[in-house]
C-alpha cells in the first residue's frame, strides 16, 4: 500500500510541473461532466417524472455510478490501460520485482485530472440527498456507504476482467466500452425503466442493479425491505472471478518480446 501511495505522490508532483495544462484539463473535465448532468436536468424541464422517479432521484442514481467510475478511472488507470504494459513488454519488469503484481500495475499510471469528476459526483450526490429530504438512520447510512463502495468495486472488477483478457489478445478489448460506458449509460437511470432483457443482463451478468437500484429503493423509502440494505454486497462476489482470471492470466503470460 505504501508503494501505491508513494507513486501516487510522485505522479501528483510531476503533474503539477505542468500547471496550465493540468488546470485546463480539470476545467474541460468539469465542462464535459456538466453536459452529462445537463441532459438529465433539461429532460426533467419537459417531463416531471420517469416511471415514477423524480429529478433528484435520477440525479442521485447517476451520481452514484459516476462516483464509482471516476474513482476507478483516476486511481486504477494502470488496469484501465493495462494493454500498454503488455504491448510495450513492460510487464516483464513488474514480474521481476518481489512485490505484489496487482499493486504494481495499479501504481503504474494514474489520471488525476479525472478527480474533478469525482468531486462533481460527490457534490451532485449531496445536493440530491438534501433535496430528497432523506431521514438518515443507521440503516440508511449503512446503505449509502455500501452503495458507494460497491460502485467502485463493480468498475474495478470490470476493468480487471478486461485487463485479464489482454493476456490472451495483447490488444485491449473494444467490447469493454459496452460494459463500462454502456453500463454507465444504462445505470444512470433506475434500471426498472428498461426493457426486461436489459434488466436481466445488468442484474445478473453485470450487477449494476445491485449498486444503484435495489439499495436505492430502500434509501428512497420506496421499499421497507431491510434485505435491500445489504444487496450491494452481491457486487463483491463479482470480484472473485476477476481476480482469479487475472492470476490465471499472469500464469499463462508469455512476453511479446523486445
Amino acid at each position: 500500500m505504501k508503494i501505491y501511495l508513494n507513486s501516487l505522490k510522485l505522479y501528483f508532483k510531476s503533474q503539477l510541473e505542468y500547471k496550465k495544462s493540468f488546470i485546463t484539463g480539470l476545467l474541460s473535465q468539469i465542462l464535459i461532466m456538466f453536459t452529462y448532468y445537463f441532459i438529465i436536468i433539461a429532460l426533467f424541464d419537459k417531463f416531471d417524472n420517469i416511471k415514477g422517479y423524480t429529478k433528484y432521484e435520477v440525479l442521485l442514481c447517476f451520481a452514484i455510478i459516476q462516483f464509482g467510475f471516476s474513482i476507478t478511472e483516476t486511481f486504477a488507470r494502470g488496469i484501465d490501460v493495462f494493454e500498454n504494459l503488455i504491448i510495450r513488454g513492460e510487464f516483464d519488469r513488474l514480474l521481476l520485482r518481489p512485490k505484489n503484481i496487482l499493486l504494481q500495475v495499479l501504481s503504474s499510471d494514474y489520471d488525476l485530472i479525472k478527480i474533478s469528476r469525482v468531486i462533481q459526483a460527490i457534490i451532485i450526490l449531496i445536493i440530491s440527498l438534501i433535496k430528497l429530504n432523506i431521514k438518515f438512520n443507521i440503516y440508511k447510512i449503512i446503505t449509502i456507504s455500501l452503495i458507494l463502495i460497491s460502485s467502485i468495486t463493480i468498475f474495478f472488477s470490470i476493468f480487471l476482467l478486461m485487463a485479464s483478457y489482454c493476456f490472451i489478445t495483447v490488444q485491449g478489448l473494444e467490447v469493454k466500452n459496452l460494459f463500462t460506458d454502456g453500463g454507465k449509460q444504462i445505470a444512470q437511470y433506475p434500471i426498472s425503466i428498461y426493457n426486461k432483457h436489459f434488466i436481466f443482463i445488468f442484474t445478473f451478468l453485470i450487477p449494476y442493479a445491485f449498486v444503484n437500484y435495489y439499495p436505492l429503493l430502500y434509501l428512497l423509502g420506496k421499499s421497507n425491505n431491510k434485505i435491500y440494505v445489504l444487496s450491494p454486497l452481491i457486487v463483491f462476489i463479482y470480484l472473485i472471478p476477476s481476480i482469479l482470471s487475472f492470476k490465471w492470466g499472469i500464469k499463462k503470460y508469455t512476453s511479446v518480446g523486445s
Binding site: G25, I32, F38, A42, K46, D48, I50, E174, Y189, F198
Partner: protein
C-alpha cells in the same frame, strides 16, 4: 483539385480495410441507440406530456439517425496523425510539399469520416428499420423531405469537417491542444443537438444554439428527415448552413496560412 481528390480516395480506400473495428462500432451504435430510445420512451410513457416539442416518431427517427451517422458527424474526432506531426515537428516536411496544407487535410479528414460511415451505416440502418414498433426507425415522411435530408447531410458533413479542421489548426498555435480542443468539442457537441435534441433545451440555451453553427450538423438534417422541420421551412436553415460553411472554410484557410508562417517547429 485532382491531387486532393486522390488523397481523399486513398484515405477512403485505406480505411475501408478496418472492418473489425467497424463491427465493434456497429454493435456500440446499436446498443447506445436502443438505450437512449428506451430512456426517452420511459419519459414519454410517464404521462403529462401534452406540449412536447417532438412527437414520438420524430424523436425516435432523430435518435436513430444520430447513431447511424455518428461517425460522419461527431465533432470531436481527433486526427492523431496531424496532432503528432504538430507535436514532434514533422509538420515541417508537410510544409515542404507542393500541395496546399488546408486542402490536403480537408480531403484527408473528409475521406476518413466518409469511410467510417460507409462501413457502419448500412447494417445499423437495416436493423433499426426492422425493429418492433416503438423502437424502430421510421422512413422519411415524403420523398421531398428525403431529398432535402440528403442535401442537408452533405452540408452537415462538409461543415463538420471544416470545424474539426479549424480546431486542429487552432491547436497549432499554443502547441498544447488538449484544453482548447476539449472546450470547443464539448460546446459543439452540446449545441449541435447530438446529446439532447435542441427542441428539448430550455429556451435561453435554445436561442444560443440557434445563433451558433453547430445545429446545422445534427439538429437541422435529422429534423428535416422526420418532418419536424417542414419542407417549406427547410430552405432557410439549409442556406444558413451553407453560409456558415463558407465562413468557416475561409476563416480556417486564412488561419492555416498564418499558422504555417508562424509555425514553431518542435525538435529536430
Amino acid at each position: 483539385m485532382k491531387k486532393y481528390l486522390s488523397i481523399f480516395k486513398i484515405k477512403l480506400m485505406n480505411n475501408l480495410q478496418y472492418r473489425v473495428a467497424a463491427l465493434a462500432g456497429i454493435s456500440t451504435q446499436l446498443f447506445f441507440g436502443l438505450v437512449f430510445i428506451m430512456v426517452y420512451l420511459a419519459f414519454y410513457q410517464s404521462g403529462n406530456n401534452n406540449n412536447l416539442p417532438m412527437n414520438w416518431k420524430e424523436l425516435v427517427s432523430y435518435l436513430w439517425l444520430n447513431q447511424i451517422f455518428f461517425s460522419l458527424i461527431f465533432i470531436w474526432q481527433k486526427d492523431r496523425e496531424l496532432l503528432n506531426m504538430i507535436k514532434d515537428g514533422n509538420i515541417s516536411y508537410e510544409l515542404c510539399r507542393p500541395i496546399d496544407f488546408y486542402k490536403k487535410w480537408y480531403a484527408t479528414m473528409y475521406g476518413e469520416r466518409l469511410s467510417a460511415l460507409l462501413l457502419r451505416f448500412l447494417p445499423v440502418t437495416i436493423i433499426a428499420l426492422n425493429l418492433p414498433s416503438p423502437l424502430k426507425l421510421y422512413p422519411p415522411i415524403s420523398i421531398m423531405s428525403f431529398i432535402l435530408f440528403i442535401i442537408s447531410m452533405i452540408i452537415s458533413s462538409l461543415l463538420v469537417t471544416s470545424i474539426a479542421l479549424l480546431i486542429h489548426i487552432i491547436a497549432m498555435f499554443p502547441l498544447d491542444e488538449k484544453g482548447i480542443m476539449a472546450f470547443i468539442m464539448v460546446i459543439g457537441d452540446l449545441f449541435s443537438g447530438s446529446t439532447v435534441p435542441l427542441s428539448f433545451f430550455p429556451n435561453f440555451l435554445k436561442n444560443i444554439a440557434y445563433i451558433l453553427p453547430f445545429r446545422y450538423i445534427v439538429d437541422v438534417p435529422f429534423r428535416i428527415y422526420s418532418g419536424n422541420i417542414s419542407t417549406n421551412s427547410a430552405i432557410n436553415p439549409l442556406l444558413l448552413g451553407v453560409v456558415w460553411l463558407i465562413i468557416i472554410v475561409i476563416f480556417g484557410y486564412i488561419l492555416s496560412l498564418k499558422a504555417i508562417k508562424k509555425a514553431i517547429i518542435q525538435g529536430g
